[in-house]
């Protein structure tokens, strides 16, 4: 059993490492003469780091990679069938599936926490959670969901599809790729351990000084998120090298499928800005365990420092979340409209423009934080400027469906919903970017509604679009279309009712992150809670459809969507090294209906250079 060996090896070495780390630090502190060598957070940090290394080596990194550092021969573990999903596997298709499934599970867990919150908030007064429990639930929901949003589409769909879309046989650094995935389970463990350490108190933003004085759950949050940041950076780096160097011959930048462009821009953002989160949390950890004074105003520190560093990452991060969603939506919209992607260059410009602007708007989260007056104006202007490149995504999407032949399958419905929902989320962003309105709306449910519209509406809908779209390619089987459509409409309607209504309590004076509110807001909160629960139920349908179809769905064929891009020209699921004969690209990917147009050909194929003509193409 390779799978059992991998997993148990990881857990075993991980645990051994954890205790070694604890003990090592204790020994160190004992030799240095500290009074209590055992009981500190520094011990937890040591344990976590050693445990992390043990885990990675145990799941198989040692044999595949680690031995090489010491000049020894490496050997891969070749697990068959489903077992490969539980080993340190370097195939990007396996990693893509690992990512997607892991994050769907995390999403459901965090969604279940949201359900608890909505139950508590259904009425004013306290129902069944204490204040501490509510804060813990809320923080964990936010943190897990942010992790899902940052990594699910780029890590899941991106890993699966990018090498296929560009005609490569794998990512540039396959072992690094496996490493980025296997760093994720420890993150989940770290975050899920927080309720047992007293529960996080600080929300996902972890503002000091609270995060310095609060309970030890905070340190697990710090460690988990720093690790998570590392996976983001390494993943981004891998995508960049892959996209720059591994495109098939003829696949020039101007012919790149738009999803690849989206991942390209996203990867830059992840690579450049993620360090901000790491630094912010590192400083907090240092304040906590070493008694440093970064955020201690009585010793020369400044709490605002944290907010600047944190948002320097976390604003760009919202584009890490949404750009892959946009890319997925545009990709699907073009294919299912059977039309060239409208204003392709402008869409690319949109991604690059957002990439360029994302780093200069962070202080719009700090309009009420007492920053100097002269900062308000520039950040207001920069923030509203972002709506121009974002608008170009809408130009491209709406232009593509106009006069197309829309094939309204489930992926297409989800893709259109991305555009629809983000229209609302983007417009409410303008209200928040405007300082005079933000002064009132900051930290109210208006903001909560805004970011659920952008993240859930823009990215999670994009994730579902991607999952439905690639399901036949990944599994070789077709999902149940009726159930898919049912889930779409259910989710779409419930989502909009829930979160559109949620703007209202915000304007009327309900602030966020509270377990209890003024009784005047009862009715509207009840509506939100009811439709929120209704929304949660729609995912049961999804889970059922996926599992059932994977096991007994009808065979899908190689190209059920009759799409032109390269991944659909190989078998479903694709062979280990993707393309039996390397493809050569001769034209634009979206030239549907253009006579004589060709995207990719396979010159080495036995039949001899059969061109893949628009529309058809499944052998």
């Amino acid at each position: 059993m390779y799978a059992a060996k991998s997993v148990s090896g990881g857990i075993g070495l991980g645990l051994i490492g954890f205790y070694l780390g604890l003990g090592f630090i204790a020994l160190l502190r004992w030799t240095l003469g500290y009074p209590e060598p055992w009981g500190g957070e520094i011990n937890i940090i040591g344990g976590y780091i050693f445990g992390l290394i043990g885990w990675l080596m145990g799941v198989g990194m040692w044999g595949i990679w680690g031995r090489e550092w010491f000049g020894q021969r490496t050997y891969p573990r070749k697990a068959p069938g489903w077992q490969r999903y539980f080993t340190f596997n370097t195939d990007h298709k396996v990693i893509g599936v690992q990512y997607t499934v892991t994050f769907i599970i995390v999403f459901l867990l965090a969604g279940a926490l949201a359900m608890m919150m909505r139950l508590e908030l259904a009425n004013s007064g306290m129902q069944f959670l204490s204040h501490a429990q509510y804060n813990g639930t809320m923080s964990l929901h936010g943190t897990l969901m942010i992790a899902v949003a940052v990594a699910a589409v780029i890590g899941g769909i991106g890993n699966y599809a990018i090498p296929l879309l560009i005609g490569a046989e794998d990512m540039a650094f396959p072992r690094l790729n496996a490493l980025t995935f296997w760093l994720v389970p420890p993150v989940a463990v770290a975050l899920l351990s927080t309720p047992f350490l007293g529960g996080m108190e600080t929300g996902w933003t972890a503002y000091p000084p609270l995060s310095v004085t609060t309970n030890s759950a905070q340190i697990m949050f710090d460690l988990g998120i720093i690790t998570f940041g590392l996976t983001s950076i390494l993943g981004g780096l891998n995508f960049l090298v892959t996209i720059m160097f591994m495109r098939a011959p003829g696949l020039s930048w101007g012919r790149l499928p738009i999803f690849v462009w989206a991942i390209f821009a996203t990867s830059w953002i992840a690579l450049l800005y993620t360090q901000g989160f790491a630094v912010a949390l590192l400083l907090i950890a240092l304040d906590r365990v070493a008694g440093m004074a970064f955020f201690n105003s009585t010793a020369g520190g400044d709490p605002l420092l944290y907010q600047h560093v944190f948002w320097f990452y976390s604003h760009p991060a919202v584009y890490i979340m949404v750009l892959p969603g946009f890319g997925m939506a545009l990709e699907i919209i073009a294919h299912f409209s059977r039309k060239p992607l409208f204003a392709y260059r402008y869409a690319v410009g949109a991604f690059l423009g957002i990439l360029g602007l994302s780093g200069v708007v962070w202080a719009h989260h700090m309009f009420t934080a007492g920053i100097p007056n002269y900062l308000h104006g520039p950040f207001l202007v920069a923030t509203e400027l972002i709506s121009v490149p974002t608008g170009l995504v809408f130009l491209s999407a709406l232009g593509t469906i106009w006069m197309g032949k829309l094939w309204l399958k489930t992926p297409m419905l989800f893709a259109l919903a991305v555009i629809f929902n983000f229209g609302c989320g983007g417009v409410t962003g303008i209200f928040l970017a405007d300082v005079p309105t933000d002064i009132h709306l900051q930290d109210t449910y208006f903001v909560v509604a805004h970011f659920h519209y952008t993240i859930v509406g823009g990215e999670i809908f994009g994730l579902f679009a991607g999952i439905y779209y690639y399901f036949p390619k990944i599994t070789g089987r077709m999902y149940n279309e009726t159930l898919g459509k049912l889930q779409f409409w259910w989710m779409f309607i419930a989502f909009n009712v829930t979160f559109f209504t949620m703007h209202l309590p915000g304007v009327q004076g309900m602030n966020r992150r509270i377990a209890d509110y003024q009784s005047g807001l009862d009715t509207v909160n009840l509506i939100v809670s009811l439709s929120g629960l209704f929304l949660g139920a729609s995912f049961i349908l999804f889970v059922y459809n996926m599992i059932n179809s994977w096991i007994r769905g009808p065979l899908a064929g190689d190209n059920p969507w009759q799409v032109r891009t390269l991944e659909w020209q190989v078998s479903s699921p694709p062979p280990l090294e993707n393309f039996p004969t390397p493809p050569v690209v001769q034209g634009h990917p979206y030239d549907y209906g253009v006579p004589g147009s060709v995207h990719g050909v396979f010159p080495g194929q036995k039949l001899g250079g059969v061109p893949v003509v628009g529309g058809g193409g499944g052998q």
Partner: protein, 187 residues
């Protein structure tokens, strides 16, 4: 470090060293932001104020680190010309200089006249600490490479591990070129 997929199979056009080089540069990009933010923190909290630090020690370790870049460079050039003996010695020298630097930082920590419980101390210890962590990891990597170099694994055609680790060493050096004035020379 990471070796490209294509080493094992597939397209002849893929050149793993090219991949690794770009990958490493991107990694440096990302790390620059880390160090840049630490610098920003320093000026955000303290402006251009500075507490007393040991100037002689600071200058000495800076010179040592710069020298080590020079020896690292010599080692890389030597292996490019297939001169294993010189490469071997100079890589060793780099490691030794690196260790002296790290020890110097340790000494500075021990003798510092400010405490980590106030802002300048926090900044100073964190910046030198994070940098020293990079130096130490650099030493570790160089050491692993050195062992393989001694075994004669590298030659003029195949020496990416040497080049890569030396590039990393240069990068850590360049970071210090920014940190040193910010911590020792300002005002």
């Amino acid at each position: 470090m990471a070796v490209a997929a294509s080493a094992a199979h597939g397209h002849a056009t893929h050149n793993p060293v090219r991949f690794n080089r770009l990958g490493l540069w991107l990694f440096f990009f990302s790390e620059s932001i880390l160090f840049g933010l630490l610098l920003t923190t320093r000026f955000f909290l303290e402006g251009i104020e500075r507490e007393h630090v040991d100037q002689h020690l600071g200058l000495a370790i800076t010179i040592i680190l710069l020298l080590s870049s020079l020896t690292a460079f010599t080692a890389e050039t030597a292996i490019e010309h297939n001169n294993q003996r010189v490469a071997n010695w100079f890589l060793m020298a780099t490691i030794v200089l690196g260790i002296i630097f790290a020890a110097g930082v340790g000494f500075e920590w021990k003798t510092a006249e400010f405490s980590r419980h106030e802002a300048f101390g926090s900044v100073f210890f964190t910046m030198t600490g994070i940098h020293a962590a990079h130096v130490v990891s650099g030493i570790g990597i160089l050491f692993l490479v050195w062992i393989q170099l001694k075994r004669g694994k590298f030659n003029s055609k195949n020496h990416w591990p040497v080049s890569g680790s030396v590039m990393y060493w240069h990068f850590v050096d360049v970071v210090w070129v920014f940190f040193y004035p910010a911590l020792y020379l300002v005002k």
